[in-house]
């Protein structure tokens, strides 16, 4: 058991290493991952400024833009990554190694966090400085807890989606594309999710980002609670439940999809 754990930790580090090295060896990535997202976030800020919206909306947008970096990362660098792994022939090699598949996913996630956090931090810093956002943090520990829970929930969701790529290639790819933009709307990346109405916001709360963003806005801005969806403490409890749910579900989904893939011969036999 001890040996197994050690092997799995080594696998996490090894897979994370690829992401870290990739980020450092492709300097152009830093530009595309920082400057360009700042520009798209700025566009929303100017929309609110043009409409003379309340000042805190600028902060809401900056926070939404910051968190969108993690959503894009989870979709394309985690969920869809197995499409590429299968295409490159690495999936076979991961599947025959004496490790948990979760180690590979965790390695991808932890390695990717560095790049994504850089992107998120760039949006946050540039946005805050350029547009002079004034934060008024109500509870830093709660804010940190919400941030971490949102990330864990999000990565759990990414792991769940990634299991689809064991069997489906292009089909799952289209699914990921379809998810990207609607979630920007449903999770209220650039506006308070309460505006969607209680029913829609409640449904959208299945995506950890919805509650996470809403809670962070309530905790980071003086008037945030006014436009909040539900009480922050309730949101924290819901996030904990979502984290457990997605992590457990992803484990079962992986076991199920792996068995189905092995049964149908769709894990690696491309000719069929």
């Amino acid at each position: 058991m001890k040996t197994d754990l050690k092997t799995n930790i080594k696998a996490v580090i090894a897979r994370a290493y690829v992401r870290v090295v990739a980020a450092n060896r492709e300097p152009s990535w830093w530009l595309t991952e920082t400057l360009l997202p700042v520009l798209s976030t700025a566009a929303y800020v100017y929309v609110y400024k043009a409409l003379k919206a309340p000042e805190e909306y600028t902060g809401f947008v900056i926070l939404g833009g910051t968190m969108s970096a993690y959503w894009v990362m989870v979709l394309w660098s985690m969920a869809a990554q197995f499409y590429w792994e299968k295409e490159m022939g690495n999936l076979d090699l991961y599947m025959i190694a004496p490790i948990s598949r979760m180690s590979i996913l965790l390695g991808m996630a932890s390695g990717g966090v560095l790049l994504t956090t850089t992107r998120a931090f760039a949006i946050f810093l540039a946005g805050s400085l350029i547009f002079k956002v004034s934060f008024s943090i109500i509870s830093f520990p709660k804010l940190l807890a919400v941030f971490i829970l949102t990330l864990v929930g999000l990565y759990g969701l990414g792991m769940l989606f990634s299991s689809l790529f064991l069997l489906y290639g292009r089909e799952a790819w289209h699914g990921v594309t379809l998810l990207q933009e609607p979630v920007h709307l449903l999770s209220g990346f650039f506006f308070p999710v309460r505006s969607l109405g209680f029913g829609v916001a409640l449904g959208a709360s299945l995506i950890p980002l919805t509650l996470g963003l809403d809670a962070m806005r309530q905790l980071a801005f003086k008037t945030g609670a006014k436009s909040g969806f539900i009480n922050v403490n309730l949101e924290i409890i819901a996030l904990v439940i979502l984290c457990i749910l997605f992590l457990v579900l992803s484990k079962y989904a992986w076991d199920f999809m792996e068995r189905l893939g092995k049964k149908e011969g769709r894990l690696s036999l491309r000719w069929q």
Binding site: T7, A14, D92, L93, G265, Q272
Partner: protein
């Protein structure tokens, strides 16, 4: 006697996809990839699976390496059931496939090998020593810091081989490991496989190939497999011996696309196979005859067919001839 691999009535069928089903409405909607395969591979053995493309070799390897479930039957690797305890099997195996593109182009050779060694929990110091040793043996030291995206096909395949051996598995599956490689690189790979096996009597290699010379040179025993069935299993020497009573002739004629089928009906012809090589304008014929005297009927028939004999030679039995004798066609023929 310990067996590294045992299979009992192993079967694997694949369902055809919808589009393929519609195309082949009158044909069976299932493809039989393996049919009642029974094999026993001894510990310490270099065992070969010889067969044409689509014979079922890769399917068998995928089942043994826990990537695919059998439709029925049992497969044991190091005495462990691959279906019931895949995690235990994975601790004992590794696999190398010809033409695979493992790893990430952004990493260099050494980093790639290190990354894959970590999936097997090898301590860093031991992994680095092993990587250094492999780089030296396979003459890849000067490419250690080259990004793998910049490697040639041959170098890339050497990397694949090193990747397979970096964790020193108890049993390694080599699926066409020298596919598309030049003579020198193939020789290096074969030499390393033999050396590695000789180092520890508990190690076992299962090699699939459709290169006869490779099978002949490397394998202690081999099984000839075609259309999912194991036709024969013995040492290369014994397999060739089985044809010593026959007369084997290789005939080269100008490119002849028609009238081939009737050559098999010539009196005295036991088995016959041919291969067209359009790019050089030649057709190569292989005849297994009951005795030498039948060759006159053969040459007559070739002339009657309008073909011109370029060369004719009586040869010692090779594994290719064994295959022809067993299935009535050459290993290169797809159909």
């Amino acid at each position: 006697m310990n067996y590294a691999v045992e299979t009992f009535d192993l079967n694997r069928t694949f369902k055809l996809k919808k589009e393929k089903k519609e195309k082949n409405k009158n044909e069976n909607s299932k493809v039989i990839a393996l049919e009642n395969v029974n094999l026993k591979i001894h510990e310490g053995e270099l065992f070969g699976l010889l067969g044409p493309n689509g014979a079922g070799k890769t399917t068998l390897i995928k089942i043994l390496s826990t990537l695919l479930l059998p439709t029925s039957g049992t497969a044991l690797v190091d005495g462990i059931d691959v279906v019931k305890y895949p995690e235990e099997v994975r601790k004992r195996i590794n696999m190398v496939t010809g033409g695979e593109h493992c790893g990430y182009g952004i990493l260099n050779v050494r980093e790639t090998l290190w990354m894959f060694s970590q999936l097997y929990g090898i301590p860093n110091k031991k992994a680095n020593e092993k990587i250094g040793e492999l780089l030296k043996i396979l003459d890849m030291e000067k490419f250690a810091k080259t990004k793998i995206g910049k490697l040639s096909t041959g170098m890339r395949q050497k990397l694949n081989v090193m990747r397979g051996f970096v964790c020193d598995p108890k049993i390694i599956f080599l699926d066409e490991p020298t596919l598309g490689l030049d003579v020198q690189v193939s020789r290096d790979v074969r030499k390393y496989v033999k050396t590695w096996l000789a180092e520890d009597p508990e190690r076992t290699v299962l090699l699939t190939t459709h290169y006869m010379a490779e099978a002949d040179e490397l394998c202690d025993r081999l099984a000839v497999i075609d259309q999912g069935k194991v036709l024969v299993c013995d040492s290369p020497q014994n397999l060739k011996k089985s044809l010593t009573k026959d007369a084997i002739f290789h005939i080269e004629v100008n490119l002849t696309l028609n009238g081939m089928e009737k050559f098999g009906e010539i009196p005295g012809v036991k088995k016959f196979a041919y291969e067209h090589k359009s790019h050089i304008g030649r057709t190569f014929l292989k005849f297994i005859l009951e005795d030498e005297s039948a060759i006159s009927h053969v040459t007559e028939s070739i002339s009657d067919n309008g073909s011109k004999i370029v060369s004719l030679s009586k040869v010692e039995p090779s594994l290719e001839d064994v295959f022809v004798a067993l299935v009535g066609r050459g290993l290169q023929d797809e159909n």
